[in-house]
Symmetry: D3
Subunit: 307 residues, 6 copies
């Protein structure tokens, strides 16, 4: 989006407030969200009427023009109204285009997931993965990986899991680790998040998510599935449960047991790196001046954008 372009689009309005300008004039300040991020909107004319046309939380159709303001783009809005889903679909309204989403296509990621499972040699592991994936396809396609920290958007869970798998398998081949275990660990380590979180556009913690946590919920999911597979070997079961339970790497990060196998160490490393780089990418993507980003409290440092 560049400055001074006129047009219209569909957004989710996530913020709405009356403000007073320098000259005493009153205007309406909005935050609008689409798939790629957030943009500020301003309504300067016909404020009293337009403010009743929609509420915070509504999908809206907006017409206006972009303009530069303090080094950022904002949308000066001339017309705005609540979306009528049935009617506006014909004009291109898609609910999923108005919420943060993974930059990757869901179908493409799903195909990658299926292929990863197909490459598993160990029949018990493969069956375990197929069962869990089939039973949770609906959630797996759209779930976010977190409420705030990293991959906190539609299909972020799937994107994160595939990325961890890719890194873990590469590192595993370099260090002679068991590929099937790494695939299982990558795909299952966060599986408890399907119960830890609720998601319907916005993300929230469930009661079980708060009180039991995704690590323990994940082990229960995995154990339950393994019990349904006749003859699942004991040592294999324990190793997979260990991968889930130890994947935060250290007790103070919430893993009651720390990684005790090469596969568990690689998995915890790949998970930590992917979470960290997801935050880095988000921080680097934010607009701002200068070579360095603002101080990032969770990472405990600023980041360099490069020259």
């Amino acid at each position: 989006m560049s400055a001074d372009i006129e047009g219209w689009g569909f957004y989710l309005c996530t913020y709405k407030e009356m403000r007073q300008g320098r000259k005493g004039d009153v205007f309406l300040a909005l935050t609008l969200q689409d798939k790629t991020g957030l943009v500020a909107g301003r309504i300067f004319n016909d404020v009293e009427r337009l403010r009743d046309e929609f509420d915070r939380g509504d999908f809206v159709k907006v017409q206006g023009r972009t303009e530069a303001h303090n080094g950022r783009l904002q949308l000066s809005i001339e017309r705005i109204r609540r979306v009528n889903p049935d009617q506006d679909r014909a004009q291109g309204f898609r609910e999923e285009e108005c919420v943060f989403s993974s930059a990757r296509s869901i179908d493409e990621m799903w195909a990658e997931l299926i292929e990863l499972v197909a490459h598993v040699q160990e029949p018990f592991v493969r069956e375990l993965l197929q069962r869990i994936i089939n039973a949770n396809e609906e959630k797996l396609r759209i779930w976010p990986a977190a409420q705030i920290v990293h991959h906190a958007y539609r299909s972020g869970f799937l994107e994160h899991v595939l990325s961890v798998a890719r890194s873990a398998l590469m590192l595993g081949s370099a260090y002679g680790a068991d590929k099937d275990l790494l695939t299982a660990g990558a795909l299952l380590h966060d599986i408890g998040k399907l119960e830890e979180l609720e998601y319907d556009g916005v993300t929230a913690y469930t009661r079980e998510g708060n009180l039991v946590g995704h690590i323990t919920l994940g082990v229960i999911t995995v154990r339950t599935a393994m019990l349904q597979i006749q003859g699942f070997p004991d040592a294999l079961r324990t190793h997979i449960e260990h991968l889930v339970v130890s994947h935060h790497g250290r007790k103070e990060f919430g893993s009651p047991v720390e990684p005790m196998t090469i596969e568990a160490i690689i998995l915890a490393t790949a998970d930590d790196l992917d979470a960290k780089l997801s935050q880095v990418r988000t921080a680097l993507a934010e607009e701002g001046e200068g070579e360095f980003t603002a101080y990032h409290p969770r990472l405990g440092r600023a980041l360099w954008r490069g020259e």
Copy 2:
């Protein structure tokens, strides 16, 4: 045991080594264990023959006399031989008398456990406790609570669990907490230790104990039992799982989730206090001179024996 008494007894020999005295004489140094603790044994005569009569790890029948040595009692042994269980049982040999055990009677503790459960009002909680206790009676009667840290002896698990229940219920009545939940939390919080540890006189960690840990194993045990009880309420299930998962009180102590209810805070407090005081009693019971014990590394201080 006081000095200069002659007699005989049955022991487990846990240590055996040839040593050289000040005058060049060779003797055999032993550590002998019975229910109440450890005693040093010394064989000064007929060493060459007696050393082949038994090995470390054997139950032995010992004849000798107590004597004071550097402020501690030791046993000067005249005769020693391996126990012949069938034959020596007639003379009073009991394997369980030769291993560290709780000072309380197992049957008395078991009766207390049954009564605690009987006092539970909430029918789902009561049924849950009955099922888990019935299914694990054999282990519950004799299991230790740990390999080293606290209550690390026969029936130490049961002793610890009852002690935590007593404290938690008292505190719970003072603070208006739910008694049934506290009973459930006290009896079930360490239930994963039945799978974390192996015990047959000596205590060891199982593979699952090392790789998955007793907190997660405990939640699985509890969840499995609750699934078998038709209509077990959701919120109740989650609260009980929360009690198990949060009972170490802090992440760095291995609880992936920290206590979020009054009952969970009381349970974690009662568990911590009982574990700490068990260590204190052991340290105070060790012989030694002076008002203060030696520095206790796990507690990070010495203890005062009083004037």
Copy 3:
């Protein structure tokens, strides 16, 4: 207090500010305090005149009606004026009803305190407690236990001390600890707060409170009193001073010496639990939506209100 009820009452006004509403209208926003907590007050009519009727910090007589606003009750005020103590007392004005106070009656708590002391067997300990209590009765009846953290209200000190005594004595009976020492420890552990804090409706730290701290001030108070009792035994004196000095349990929490006796460990546990549960109760009592409270920074977690 439920919605839409008319009436009048006496309050302490702790906050007063002019604000502007959505339609440009100006109103007066107040915070009013009585014994049970805080309530928001709003003056929409006759603002200019009423704003001069009272100042922040005044006791006020208020007439108005309750109304719901964003899920909380607030008081829409029609009339308000400064309290005239002499005259308003006839109508029921009591200063102590307008400050946060313990939910328990002072006289009832005082009787409990006296009885606790009467049960002490050891004559030196009993005399010590009597002396200190008699010398400080006025403060002991009304003092808060802290400025912010826990029991931060009128008579909170007494409530806290009794609650710690109750827990410590129960735990002490379970673990065979000395009851007299526990009573002394519970009643005296925070005695330095009588000098650490100033209280006359609002709570503040004194110069000595900031620069010397209540643990050291408490030991001085206790030592001074013991010196006045002829023949007070040395070991007993040191044990009581140890209870005071170690009651925060760990160096990083401000105890220069950590608990080295069973009584000191129990006291530190009971104190910590009572402080924690006081905060939990306050957090749970705050209005709010959903099953979980807001994140509680001092406890480092949210709390569960239950289903």
Copy 4:
């Protein structure tokens, strides 16, 4: 080496002590080192004469037979003498075969290093790497990576550096990082160790290694080389220095600045993983019974060998 095999070989004797057996007999206990590790040696016959044939620290020629002892192999030595390098070389004595070494061939690793540099696209980076590698070839081929912690053997530096490069480049391709910077970071991050350590079979810290440390020494080496390359771009120089200075990832691990770019985060991750897995492999390779290794103090846990 399996039990009961006769033969001879060359070793470095790193330990030598007279001991007394159970029957009062005196024997000579040795530790012998070759490329693959350590083996215990025992001399039971002709002890007085053989003990003067060599000293600790000598290369020795040994003849004897392997035998099992407490579950480990040891060498029962019949003949032993100091090596005569000139003469024994004909029989196959190679000094480098008698010190711990990387399992990989030096020449193969060197070729891999050269090829890595050849793949660098950025001409300044490539020239920088070539200069530093050429100037330090002798050390780079044989240097260990540490005195104790990881890759603490001949050519361990080169093995570590190549392993980090492989992981970092794989992760870099997954996350779209700059390959040339990652190659430079991997090859140069520990370059200060060429001055931090001294190595001539045994490894020691130099004065500068102790007082200045390899991170700062590494930046000086890199800066010095860059100053000699005309026109080396400023931002590129700073980025490479940042990779060196931040590669320990956190201040408490000795990096005065923490990683602020994607490349720096990947490099620190790859370095940490390689160091950790080097320790894991060493721990798993140690002989021992049971599924789990002994507790590993530096990693803070035991490791699982698998079923």
Copy 5:
């Protein structure tokens, strides 16, 4: 500055905002800076015209009168305009009088610096100091010591360095440390800040400051200068580099190597004390009521102003 004085002066305007008073009147709120600190300015009359006379960031000439407001002085401004440097210089405008500066005269401090160097006995150390000081005189005279933390004002670097030298030399004489090394350490420990920071009235971090940090940059500066001095002794070079690299005292404060000599321990102590007391003085100098300052987050406590 006392209340109710009329006059005029030159300032740097660092803040400028329109605000609304209690009665709906609009005024202009400014922050004005001169050498000694900040003062609030208020423009109540002729606001619309005066607001366009200058911008935030301008040097301004101000006429007005001081008045007390909530216990602080503020400046009620009648006339204000942008400074015209050439013309206003005649009236006494000096840019350096309008920025925070050390309370000490630059020339006096410079003379002290030169004398310190002249007292160095060791010829290599003296030459090193002379070279670095001569090469950086311009920066050394005006540089601040930090952006925020301590001595964050014009010539703060020089003031800090001299203060550390004074303390270190006194302590050094008490403990028999090498005076020349202490002088070198005091003058050079922060030398990397000349490249870590940019300063032209306002202070900012450079790219190298962020990515490499002043400790490493300082060692490079010192090493470079020593290489230009023929015959500089090795051990002396390493000791000076050690002083620079270890001066933060602990790894978690960013020193990759901790002090290993008496001189390094004294230097780190003197640096820490001076930084701490600089913050204390600033905190004590801030206006405020009561014996205690506000809580100081970086020091983690409040400070006592005295009775």
Copy 6:
């Protein structure tokens, strides 16, 4: 003491053990202590008879010759017997010459102490110091400053206190702090150690030392003395108590309150530096090879002896 010198002397024997040499010969190994440190003693001849001439803990008269052994001097003893104090005094036996002692003369240190007090301007402070010093002269002259950590020898307390005073006063003059308060703080900060420790050649902790600690005991001593001085100003009293209570600088080091005044910060700094440098000097004084000392666990690093 250099090698191969014959002579005799008086020592305290602190260690005595029979050992076996390489050739099977038995000898007696001793540790002998005099004022300056420890020396190893060996008795090779007439062992059986000489071993009964004295016990560990005895003062002994020794005749022998020094010899080098593994780079250290040891004493090869020909004659040894228990000291007869009355008779041997004529030959120069002085008990205090056989225990570790400060290198400074007690009388000289005492004179310095008296002079420090005489320089105090504030009459209340001066009287306080005089009272406490007069009342404790006997202990103050000979007390050690600790059992192990620093200044752990006869008169170490006095040496430490004077050294802290010297540093604190120098720093105080540089930073404009109150000299009288610094003198008081330096002389009184460790005064509680007179009750924390027992000393009669060997040092031990008292019951109060363990259970109450020297910081709290110190405040009690100081408070008690101040109460006896009519009209001692409140703020002055609190400031001096603050100096005592805060002198460990941080809560985790056992100060329940952290330094809140310039004087308290300087005192904590001077105390920490003196304790640290005392340990450094001890470590540097230990014999050993190489430029670096062994790793010093309490300081967490090795130290550099210089070239």
